[in-house]
Amino acid sequence: MKRAWLFLAALLVVPAALAIDTNHLPTPALQARYEQLTHEFRCLVCQGEDIAASNAFLAVDLRNQVRDMLLAGKSDRQIVDFMVDRYGEFVLYKPPFQANTLALWLGPFALLLIALVSVVWIVRRRTAMASEQVEQS
């Protein structure tokens, strides 16, 4: 039992130790943009992770790329475009709102709406049926 707890405790420590990011930018503002950008890009080798969290070759390369572009004075927009031009929109964790992503963005709300309408409809019908029965008896 004690061992199990130790194991669980060790698991809690792991995420912090996962990615070893050695990049530090000269100003807090640049560092903040760096951290935000690296959390926006998907690591294509290890698709569940963003490039900030991964130690894959590619993630390290892309982090360095982001750092170099920030140091060169590139805007966030330019850096995002750079990545999308090379790796496609799949590289973005937050896909842009456009024609081919409409279903992705609006689908959940459409489903929710259908569910709400169904619930209202069913409840109304049951109420109507119940009051009919009351009238009959």
């Binding site: 698709q47 070759f57 496609g88």
Partner: protein, 176 residues
Amino acid sequence: MWRYLLPLVVLAGLIGIFWRGLHTDPSRVPSPLIGKAVPDFSLPKLLEPEEAFSDEQLRGQVSLLNVWATWCFECKAEHPVLMQFAAKHDVPLYGFDYRDDREKALAWLDEAGNPYDSIAFDATGDVGIDWGVYGAPETFLIDANGHIRHKYIGPLTPARIQSDLLPRIEKLRAER
């Protein structure tokens, strides 16, 4: 009646979507570079470090650029297939040694043979980023105008070559 049919229709739709999902490999991401000109680059050649391999090499005829490295297990598995391809077909096959160690790469080619007409050596992976490389092996099919027309992610197999690559090459050659 439709009360019973509707859930069935929804279920059928979901099954269709999930069925499709089962047969798409999420690790194969379509490249946005398809249809575009090859990126500008210049790299040293692996075998002749003092010479340059540039995008110029990839213009003029239909060719293949195969991204590989000695640290890549699947590339090693793909290697004999490339050897066979190079011996059988008259299509320029260029190598792109990605994020590799020159000594190791040379030793590997000595041991396993060299199917490539020429090899670009990208030690740092910088040019690889411009090509959107994210996992070797990858193979780009390039037309005579130097435009990327198709990208194979993962190793080429005899079946993939026979049923997909060769027909595509024929088609591109006929375009001229």
